[in-house]
């Protein structure tokens, strides 16, 4: 069980206090698929990074299986079983796909093992294993490698920030299946109906607050509402 308790995040934006997350509380059971959704800038990525320990909240607590992990750094959370896929994959210099996969799985993968992981994200492994994870890879390729690391980690809590962004429609089913099959708690940030469709729990954010949380049937009308409002604003 992952519990987020009264999390706030404020930044100093040119001398002015800016509230990015405003008293966020919810809990997620193990082995469910949770989707965090909401408009651009609503605070989704910030919330995900706070769960992983990449950003320190201004106030509030995070509990995992009853234990307060608020003070744990990224490494400690990773060792506890948390994995994270960035919205904008990080690129390196001189570090290969294979090396990252090995670090992610905590062991040296055989070429067959590495290929197996990469094939699950739709990459033809032999072309990629020795490639450097740098800007020469396309956006979609980087996103897939980011996901491959999630598979390699085999973690208990998988936080994926818009894993479908930049992935072509052809691979979408495979991606959906990947999350359906995955064990553990999956927290996916997404705007996509097809991902929202398979969620056990949906958290809808609006301007740093939880607008609605619950099962698809309860939350979907609010999502539709938000989208309509946006359309009207655009008119």
């Amino acid at each position: 069980m992952l519990e987020i308790k009264d999390v706030c995040y404020e930044v100093n934006d040119n001398g002015e206090k800016k509230v990015i997350l405003d008293h966020i509380s919810f809990s997620l059971e193990d082995d469910i698929l949770a989707v965090i959704t909401g408009q651009n800038g609503s605070g989704k990525s910030t919330l995900a990074k706070i769960i992983m320990g990449i950003i320190k909240p201004t106030s509030g607590k995070i509990l995992y299986n009853g234990k307060d992990i608020s003070k744990y750094d990224i490494t400690k959370r990773a060792k506890l079983g948390f994995a994270f896929a960035f919205q904008q994959p990080v690129v390196f210099k001189g570090i290969t796909v294979k090396q990252l996969l090995d670090l992610a799985s905590g062991k040296e993968n055989s070429v067959t093992e590495a290929c197996h992981i990469l094939s699950k994200v739709g990459l033809c492994a032999r072309d990629y294993i020795e490639r450097e994870v740098n800007n020469k890879l396309s956006g979609g390729e980087l996103k897939r490698i980011e996901l491959a690391m999630i598979i390699a980690r085999d973690a208990k809590v998988n936080i994926c920030d818009e894993p479908e962004a930049g992935i072509d429609l052809w691979s979408f089913d495979a991606l959906v299946n990947l999350f359906k099959e995955k064990k553990g708690l999956d927290i996916i940030i997404s705007h996509q109906n097809r991902i929202i469709d398979i969620a056990d729990k949906i958290i809808l954010l609006k301007a740093g607050k939880i607008e609605k949380i619950g099962a698809k049937e309860e939350v979907m009308p609010h999502i539709v509402n938000q989208r309509c409002e946006r359309l009207k604003e655009g008119e």
């Binding site: 750094d73 990080v90 390196f92 001189g94 570090i95 670090l103 980690r153």
Partner: protein
């Protein structure tokens, strides 16, 4: 050969001992330790000054030549001139380098002046490794100067590595690149404590179709200092690209001065320089895979200097 000498030899040339075969010239403490030549590659000691002439016959293929220098004493200030004459169509690898082991309180230095005369349509790879260890307080100095003429249609690839222990290094590389010739330079330098490393490149792209690509990667830690200067002059239809990347930590300093001079409207010259501390994003990513902050830093720097 004692253990220290063997260790240095392995560090700078990858050789474990005096080889049984192959082409080599091993210099220790200013004297010739061992040499082997064959009918295609001749090595001759200079008569007028200290140093050697390395003469590679045209059409020599797939040969490697090892010419390591070992300085294993204090108070030695070695100066040596090496000239390479590479015949047309040769395809060779040259592994040079210098290792200093100095446990005394007297400074040691090695000044190597290398001149490359590359014929037409050659492929030459030149690897130069520098490293030093011993008494931390004593200066261990390396000043390599490399002059290169890359002949028509030839490719010259130079790889310079300095991965620690050298208190002071002043590297100078001067190159002239002829028609349709290509010069590729990759330099990796890591400095720590109070070490200082200066690099100076001057490349003239003389004729049409000439090309140079310089990639310099610098990591400076503690109170160390690095300086990177490069001048690329394009005199014809040519291409030049200089990339200087630095990672800076602690109280270190990196100065990068890339300069490009175009003397022809057909010259296409680019330089890029970026210096900064280790990327927090990269560190966060690796920590999210379970590495500690220190482990992440090590992986990032190793990749950067690969």
């Amino acid at each position: 050969m004692n253990e220290n000498t063997k260790f240095i030899l392995e560090q700078v040339s990858g050789l474990h001992d005096i080889p049984q075969a192959g082409i080599y010239n091993i210099r220790e403490n200013g004297k010739l330790l061992a040499r082997n030549i064959d009918e295609e590659v001749n090595i001759i000691s200079k008569k007028d000054k200290d140093g050697i002439d390395i003469v590679v016959k045209p059409n020599t293929k797939n040969k490697s030549i090892h010419i390591p220098v070992i300085v294993s004493m204090g108070g030695l200030n070695d100066l040596v001139y090496n000239d390479f004459y590479i015949g047309d169509n040769a395809d060779i690898l040259i592994v040079a380098g210098c290792g200093i082991h100095n446990t005394t309180d007297k400074q040691s230095s090695h000044n190597g002046i290398h001149s490359f005369h590359i014929g037409k349509n050659c492929k030459v790879k030149y690897v130069e490794k520098h490293f030093a260890f011993g008494n931390a307080k004593t200066s261990k100095i390396l000043n390599p100067t490399t002059e290169i003429v890359v002949g028509e249609g030839s490719v010259f690839e130079m790889e310079t590595l300095q991965l620690g222990g050298v208190s002071f290094a002043d590297r100078k590389t001067y190159a002239k690149v002829k028609k349709d010739a290509k010069l590729l330079i990759r330099e990796n330098i890591l400095t720590s404590s109070k070490e200082e490393a200066i690099t100076h490149f001057e490349v003239e792209l003389e004729k049409e179709g000439s090309r140079v690509e310089v990639v310099s990667r610098a990591v400076a830690k503690d109170k160390s200092k690095q300086e990177f200067n490069s001048i690329v002059i394009g005199k014809a239809e040519c291409f030049g690209h200089v990339e200087c990347d630095g990672i800076l930590a602690d109280n270190a300093e990196i100065i990068s001065t890339p300069k490009i001079i175009a003397k022809s409207p057909e010259a296409n010259l680019v330089h890029e320089a970026a210096i900064g501390k280790i990327s927090e994003e990269q560190q966060n990513k690796l920590m999210s895979l379970g590495l500690t902050k220190e482990e992440a830093e090590k992986v990032i720097i190793q990749g950067f200097l690969k």
